[in-house]
């Protein structure tokens, strides 16, 4: 093979890569915080919530888990404006990621809640706590602890999946790679470098989540 790799373009285009990386980081931070919050709420509904809300959440979860993220993104960005819901590409990307992670984390967190021994609910009740107080103060934290590894993996998957938001012109890392390949005609190298950045981000994100888990579930004195 007579191809010569050339990474000289990096000197010219690294600001694009940095900018794109930063956008990807922002996307996953917003997506993770609100997505997991949505997931906690939906998990509460499915495991313990009011009966009338359960079918609505079930349909939402099944619809999202059984359709591609790309189509969810297109539906939100291209489809919703015909209902009068116009939004910018970044908002659409944020919304799509929150909705997507919300559905997946709902199922993961629900499994954690359902693994709670019945005695924990009864102990909460016998201490005169309401069902919601028992969920909030007794059940939630140990449930999250149980499923934290699975939840962390899902957040990483959503971060990697965010690369398709470049398709609606969000200027993320993939967008930067596309831009560079169109300017420098060094397609393979451009994608190679950005893939490497994604891999680094995935590793760092996993470490960050491990750290957060450690703090969240840390044993501390009750004062």
């Amino acid at each position: 093979m007579s191809y010569h790799f050339n990474f000289g373009w990096l000197l010219v285009y690294y600001p694009e890569l940095l900018k794109g990386t930063w956008v990807t980081i922002q996307l996953i931070l917003i997506g993770a915080v609100f997505g997991v919050s949505l997931g906690v709420f939906c998990a509460w509904v499915r495991a313990l919530g009011p009966a009338w809300l359960k079918p609505i959440v079930s349909v939402y979860v099944e619809l999202i888990r059984n359709t591609p993220f790309l189509i969810q993104l297109f539906f939100i960005f291209f489809g919703l404006p015909s209902l009068g819901l116009q939004m910018g590409e970044t908002s659409a990307a944020n919304l799509a990621m929150i909705i997507n992670l919300g559905a997946y984390s709902c199922e993961i967190i629900r499994a954690g809640i359902e693994a709670t021994p019945r005695g924990q609910f009864e102990a909460g009740a016998s201490l005169a706590m309401t069902r919601f107080e028992t969920f909030r103060y007794v059940v939630l934290l140990p449930a999250l602890k149980r499923i934290w590894p699975a939840l962390s993996s899902q957040i990483v998957i959503v971060m990697l999946g965010s690369s398709v938001v470049s398709q609606i012109a969000v200027e993320d890392l993939t967008f930067a790679a596309n831009f560079i390949q169109s300017r420098s005609f060094r397609a393979f190298e451009a994608y190679f470098v950005s893939t490497f950045i994604y891999l680094t981000l995935a590793i760092l994100l996993r470490l960050l989540l491990k750290f957060i888990g450690g703090r969240l579930f840390q044993r501390k004195a009750a004062r």
Partner: protein, 219 residues
């Protein structure tokens, strides 16, 4: 401008769905075979093979499928071949699917209690015999539900091949949208078609898992 009926849209999407199904099947089968090879490398006794399998999974699970598609598309081109989109799509999806299946299956093999290995060894079985007659039959039973479950991820993964120009359901959705200017209807239908493909698999995976759990509780 010609007027498109709902049926026109639906028929076009349905035709493209064939390619989504075909690509999913190829990816799943190819990924399964490659995954099996990587699985044996991972659970075997060769250190180098173990390491390779581990790094393989790290890389393919740690990078976006879209990037893998781009790299396959442009990387294969470096060999001087004019790469058709379907080839890059197939190669990348097989490689990606394999990485996830190895991890799922490795979990199943490891979930077979260590007492089973010891019992088999105590009966004088060699490593391969232990694997063949004791561990794999048990692991296989556990593996069915999550494997069926992962096939849903493969189908959804094929949607990304539209970005490198493979014409399947998602690409057809974009093409039809551009022709009809009815993104809400078209992408809604596209989503429903994906749902029709994925949901039965998701459900069967859940049912299989529940059955297995019940069977285990009775033991």
């Amino acid at each position: 401008m010609t007027q498109f009926t709902l049926w026109d849209i639906f028929r076009n999407l349905l035709l493209a769905t064939r390619w989504t199904i075909l690509l999913s099947l190829v990816s799943f089968l190819g990924g399964g075979i490659l995954g099996l090879i990587l699985l044996f490398m991972r659970i075997g006794h060769n250190r180098a093979a173990q390491f390779f399998s581990k790094i393989y999974v790290e890389i393919f699970q740690g990078t976006p499928l879209l990037m893998q598609l781009f790299l396959a598309f442009f990387g294969l081109g470096l060999f001087g071949i004019n790469v058709p989109a379907w080839l890059a799509a197939g190669v990348a999806l097989i490689a990606w699917t394999a990485a996830f299946l190895v991890e799922i299956w490795r979990g199943c093999v490891e979930s077979v209690a260590s007492g089973q290995w010891e019992a088999a060894a105590s009966l004088g079985m060699g490593y391969l015999q232990q694997m063949r007659y004791v561990i794999l039959p048990q692991a296989l039973k556990i593996a069915v539900a999550p494997t069926v479950g992962f096939s849903v991820q493969v189908i959804k993964g094929t949607a990304l091949t539209s970005i490198i120009g493979f014409v399947e359901l998602s690409k057809a959705g974009s093409v039809v949208t551009n022709a009809t200017f009815q993104p809400f209807t078209v992408y809604g239908l596209v989503a429903l078609l994906y749902f029709a493909l994925c949901w039965p698999l998701s459900k069967s995976s859940q049912i299989l898992e529940r059955k297995l759990n019940v069977a285990h509780r009775n033991h």
